[in-house]
Structure formats: C-alpha cells, structure tokens
C-alpha cells in the first residue's frame, strides 16, 4: 500500500476524531467539570465550616446552583471565608441564609441556601452575612449535657444519662 498525498489530512481527521471520542467519554462519565455558563462570585464568613471542601456543591432545594471555589481564613475576625461561584441563571435575595449541611447521613458536606424575602438580589462580589456553621458533634454533645444539667438544676433531681 503506497503513501498518499492526503495522508496528513487523514491523520488530522483521525486526531480530531480521537479528541472528540475522549471528550465524549469524559463528559458521559461526568469527569469533566467544564462550566460553560457564566458565574458570579460571592464570599461568606462562617464560624466553622466543618468538613467542607473546595468544589463542594452549593444547593438550593437540592439542586446544584453553584460551587465552592476557595476556602480561606480571616485572621482578623478568626472566621472561615469561603468563595462561591454561583450560576448566573439563578439569583437569590440579599437576606438569604447559607448553611453547611451534610448530604445523607455520612456523606460529604455542601452549602445549602435558604431563600429570603428581600426585593434586592445578591450581586457579584457581595459578602453574605446570614450564615450558619456546620454541626460539630462534640458541641452537640456538650450542649446536650449542659441542657441536662440545667434541667436537673431547676428540677432538683439528679440527672442520670439514660441508656
């Protein structure tokens, strides 16, 4: 079989086909995080972000409306600062609250949005003030014990941890 003058063009065509195939495979496996939609950026301060990681989802009503891009530390207010890239299609009122929630019982943590009632929406570069930190198990237990002790103190009975 002899060399043809068209070999270079056929080669180019084959390379394009191969690239398209790889792209298709990655897209179908959801391994590619190409974001074609435009985004706007927000920041938020949290007392405790728990196990939140970069690229975690930002969901409202269970639907992904953005991503956590950066996690940093504010050493003046001693709070965590996270940066969110929000999908430009969705806008939320200025008094909406951000909470750190867990998907499922043992799943990864994500940022949930509870929509507020303000007329004005978040615009790019805003800092969100209504935030609720992640639930930390130790604080929960000590709070429970504190409440038990407070109940016991007002009742005058001795508190025993029921099995």
């Amino acid at each position: 079989m002899g060399r043809s003058k068209n070999d270079v063009w056929v080669g180019l065509f084959v390379m394009l086909g191969a690239v398209a195939l790889v792209f298709l495979a990655l897209q179908s496996a959801n391994l590619l995080s190409l974001n074609w939609s435009s985004t706007y950026r927000l920041t938020a301060h949290f007392d405790n972000i728990g196990g939140l990681k970069p690229k975690a989802a930002v969901r409202s009503a269970g639907v992904v409306v953005g991503r956590v891009t950066q996690i940093g530390f504010d050493d003046e207010r001693f709070q965590a600062v996270i940066t969110l890239d929000m999908d430009s299609r969705f806008h939320f009122p200025k008094d909406s609250a951000l909470k750190i929630l867990t998907s499922g019982l043992l799943g990864d943590q994500y940022v949930g949005i509870e929509a507020g009632a303000d007329d004005a929406d978040w615009s790019a570069g805003d800092n969100v003030t209504h935030t609720q930190s992640a639930v930390v198990l130790e604080n929960l237990i000590s709070q429970f014990l504190f409440n038990s002790a407070a109940d016991q103190g007002s009742d005058g009975k001795s508190a025993t941890l029921k099995k």
């Binding site: 068209n6 070999d7 056929v10 080669g11 084959v14 298709l24 179908s28 496996a29 959801n30």
Partner: protein, 260 residues
Amino acid sequence: MKWWHPGDLGFTVRSWLGGIGYGARFLARLLSLAGPTFGRFGLVRDQIHFLGNYSLAIIAVSGLFVGFVLALQGYNILQRYGSAEAVGMMVALSLLRELGPVVTALLFAGRAGTSLTAEIGLMKSGEQFSALEMMAIDPIRRIVAPRFWAGVIVMPLLAAVFSAVGILGGWVVSVVMIGVDPGAFWSQMQGGVEVWADVGNGVLKSVVFGVAVTFVALLQGYVAKPTADGVARATTKTVVMASLAVLGLDFVLTALMFSY
C-alpha cells in the same frame, strides 16, 4: 531535529500526522477486506491456530495466577468489613470487566503481536510481498488481512479463557485454601454479575483491543525498514504502541460503559 526551529517542528508534526493518516488508511483497507477474507476462511482458520492456540498456554497460566492474587488481596480487604463472602463477586467482576480484556491484550501484544510484526517485516524485506504483487496477487489481501481478522476473533476468546481460569483460580484460593463458603462464593457472584452489562462489555472491550493490537502489529511489520535492525526495532515499537493503545482505549471504553 531541533524542536525550537519552526521548520523542523512543522516537518515533524506533518510527518507524524502523515504516519497516523497512513495507519488509518491501512486500518480502513483491512476492515474493508472483511468480505473477501471470510470468503476464504481457510486462511483465517490457519492464522487462528497460529495466533490463538500458541497463546493459550501463557494466557491460561497468567489467568490462573491473576485469579489467585485477586482472591488473596480481595479477601484481605473484604474480611475487614465482614464481607469476605463477596470475594467471588469481586474476583469475577474485576476479571470480566477489566483484567480479562486488558491483561490478555497486553500478553497478546507481547507474544502474538511481536511474532506478527517480525513475520510481516521479514516477508516484506525478503521481497516476498513484491513477488506476490508481480504474481498479480494483492499481498494485503492474501497475507495481512487474514491475520488481522484472525486476531480480532482470537482476542475475545483468549480473554474469556483468561477470565474463566482466573475465576477458577480465585475459587481455589478462597474456597479450598482460605475456607470461604462455596455456596456464598458462587451465589454472590451470580447475583452481582450481569450478563450484558459486565460480560458483554468485557467482550466488547476485548474485540476493540483485538482490533487495536493486531492492527498495530501488522502496521509496524509493514512499514518496518527492510533490514534486520529495522525489523527488530519494529517489534519493540509494536509492544510499546499496542500496550499504550490498549490502556488508553481501556480508559475511554470504561468511561463510556461503566460510569454514571
């Protein structure tokens, strides 16, 4: 070649693309000769014997050892979570989906691929291909195409042998040696392995690998320099390129078949 010289770089890219284009045309030629080749099935049958039967030993032995190791490693991890009885399903799925097609393809590239490359390269350098042309016989149709289609047929069969022997090896280690319950071993496997999704996809993978490995081996033999050194280099290139092709295609196929 100096890669910072635009002229050299351009020439290299163009000749590289030209090589890919030539290879693509070669593959298209082989695929288009399916009809005539199967019309003369005797040639294909002979090649199936040379490629398949002579590879059976290495495939079966390798499958056995891979099955042993899978069972050992699998049991080691699964019994920490109390799931030791799933070792049968784990061994079967690993083999059917991945290790069977991939390892078989790599072994085939080393054993049968190199022999194909050397054979075609030597025939071409000994002017046997020219002699065929002058006898008004198309050498690609007569010599290369039967070997190609034989390789495509043989690969899924060898992968099936590999997986089957591997599962048996896994049974020997987990049930006979370690003491996993045989009933649980097989029933978990039957519950966890789906015919079309797992076995079928594994067969599809090995067919694709068969095309890739045999094509690379035959192409390298065909374009080898007609010297002893040239043929030796070509066999090395066959193993390297075929192995990389198999692993790359495995990624693409797995992403298409087994992801969410």
